[in-house]
Amino acid sequence: MGSLFSSSISLRKSVRISDDEFLLLRDFIYEKSGIFVDVKRKYLFESRFSKHLGELGLSSFSDYIKYLKFDVKKAEELPRLFELVTTNETSFCRDLRQLDVFKVNVLDEILNEQRKAGKLELNIWSAGCSSGEEPYTLAILLHESLKRELPLWKIKITAVDLSRTMIEQAQKGVYGEYAFKTTSDDIRKKYFTKESEGWKVKPEVQKLVHFQQMNLNDSQSLKKVARSHIVFCRNVVIYFDEAMKKKVVGSFYDNLLPGGYLMLGHSETLHKISQAFKPLYHPGSIAYKKQG
């Protein structure tokens, strides 16, 4: 087999991370964000961080850990660290079956109850909203459900994420093709306008959503979120360990109004995490209803 590449080309390009350094870095990340990184991802860390270490002029992970803990610029570094350890995969109308279940079995019930009580108010919290596709999807769903009744309602979707960059992107509300991979053209045409950079979400959708940078590990700031009828937290707790999952789900419980609902991602459950919710099984998705 001939090769266009040198036969002695090496695979290692990055600074080595020792087992001790890995554990220190991982514990630091966990302490700050609740994100738990398995030791199997040690080499991933090496390659993900190596360029950044170079930019900072650091030659070892030990130096980086010192930088994170003691440098005068440590506060600026934290958001960058978060960018390196999070993934922001998302799209509009992600998990159509779940959204269907949500509309038929959760949303309609809550809307009806509110109507009966004469309180045309609805609060939804989208926790870990990434670049905004999820909360905007919910806003679109509300438009589709309420139609001309919508202006009578006081609706607030609070969308938060750890990443400042993601929040800024979400506030801009301009999206490329990939974001629409599971969205019908009808919905796209109805709620977005084509711009040179991509598709921009229309003002009537945008104004229902309020974005804010927030760390789910920070219980104090979670307490400030307006009490919700529904919490969406999809594909986020999968990155947490059990203790952090319990802590975050506890905060959701406290935030939810009586009878409120929690919706998790397709690969997430409250099994072993919390008994304070009643799981309602529907084909394709589970809705968790707050008990007590």
Binding site: Y43, L44, I238
Partner: protein, 406 residues
């Protein structure tokens, strides 16, 4: 072969094989250097594809760097100092460079991001189905092909005569045809043509042929998986390549009968097929999770479903009463050291990694899972040149063997 579509054809390229018109008429002989006037002519004749030779000089330094970056991405998860891994990296570079020189375009970011399938309803929600219940559900619903059990019967009966075996196998025409093709393929490398099952039994032995028949009849069971969910052709290509490499790598060890490794490789990811059938949406979520986090599929399965495809193959192969030795190779191909006698699963483990490395040059999607250090030591192989030789042998043989299946 480097197939270029007509639009990519430029003067100076050399034909790698005779170029024929759609009616079979010879247009140009292999070795012809394409000139502008040839291109004109081909355009008039309406030739869609042309097989041209690779020219190393075609690639710019910038392109080489791009290829290097592309290939590196598949090695993010693995130990960059591991001997077999480094060698696999070099092999991937060589293969990818070659593919690009022959006209293959590196997939762009969009192609590499997962497209996901919506509207797939899982039969089990997260936390509701253990691997055992999922397999039980499968085993209750669909009955396994009758022929499989009849083959198993003769396989287990030491006194079964060669004629009886030949008779059982021959009752399934398409199975028999596949077997004939396979025994005539480089997998066995007999000099003469074998034209009947009884001749095949005589040459390769009753046990061997029945095992092969067993593996192939098991594959048949999965022919109705929806194509929008997984590219089944790619799936089987992965499996067959792994089987072939496993067989080749097994020859580096003394006292193993290499042919069994082909079957184990062929079925090594069979658990994944049950996942596609029973948990289609969860499977696509796992694929998405793997790509987004640069982790191997098997890790992503564990994160998203709490179990992986070998947890599924274990009860499945048990329910099928699949031969134990083969089952162990399959069930432990991601963690060979957890099996008391790790040598055999270690070979499938290595072959699977090498298959993944080869697939990078074919638009593979997932990072390498990595070679277990202890397993590698047990094998006692010199990465250079053994892995490269294995890949070369595999490349020579793979098309014929794939031809027996598709």
């Amino acid at each position: 072969m480097g197939i270029k579509c007509f639009e990519e054809l430029t003067a100076g390229m050399i034909l790698a094989s005779d170029l024929k018109a759609s009616d079979g008429r010879l247009l140009f002989k292999a070795g012809t250097e394409i000139e502008a006037r040839h291109i004109e002519l081909l355009k008039r004749v309406g030739v869609a594809e042309v097989d041209v030779e690779a020219g190393a000089c075609e690639l710019s330094d910038g392109m080489l760097l791009e290829i290097e970056d592309y290939v590196r991405d598949f090695f993010l998860y693995v130990n960059p100092d591991s001997e077999p891994v480094v060698e696999m990296f070099r092999i991937s570079l060589a293969l990818t460079g070659d593919a690009v020189a022959r006209g293959w375009c590196l997939p762009d970011i969009i192609q590499r991001r997962a497209s996901n399938v919506e509207h797939m309803e899982d039969l089990f929600l997260k936390g509701m189905g253990s691997p055992e219940t999922i397999v039980m559900h499968e085993a209750e619903l669909a009955s396994f092909p009758d022929i499989y059990f009849r083959i198993k019967e003769v396989l287990e009966d030491d006194s079964a005569s060669a004629t009886r075996i030949a008779k059982v196998v021959s009752t399934d025409m398409s199975l028999a045809a596949k077997l004939i093709k396979l025994v005539n393929s480089p997998l066995y490398g007999f000099p003469q043509t074998i034209d009947s099952i009884s001749r095949a039994v005589a040459l390769i032995g009753a046990k061997e042929l029945s095992t092969l028949a067993l593996g192939i009849s098991a594959i048949n069971y999965f022919k109705d998986i929806p194509p929008e969910l997984v590219d089944m052709k790619k799936f089987w290509r992965h499996s067959i390549t792994c089987g072939l490499l496993a067989k080749i790598l097994a020859t580096t060890q003394t006292g193993l009968s290499p042919e069994r490794f082909f079957i184990a490789g062929l079925l090594h990811d069979v658990g994944r097929l049950i996942m596609f059938k029973k948990l289609p949406y969860a499977s696509t979520e796992a694929m998405l999770f793997a790509r987004e986090n640069s982790i191997p599929l098997v890790e992503a399965e564990r994160s998203t479903m709490d179990f992986c495809h070998t947890d599924i193959s274990r009860p499945l192969l048990e329910a099928w009463k699949f031969p134990e030795g083969l089952s162990n190779m399959i069930n432990f191909h991601h963690n060979p050291m957890e099996f008391p006698n790790p040598l055999e699963p270690a070979i499938i483990h290595l072959a699977d990694n090498l298959t993944n490395a080869m697939e990078i040059a074919q638009g593979g999607m997932y990072v390498l899972p990595g070679v277990d250090e202890q397993a590698w030591e047990i094998l006692g192989i010199q990465a250079d040149p053994v892995l490269r030789d294995a890949v070369e042998q595999c490349q020579e043989q793979i098309d014929t063997i794939l031809g027996a299946f598709f």
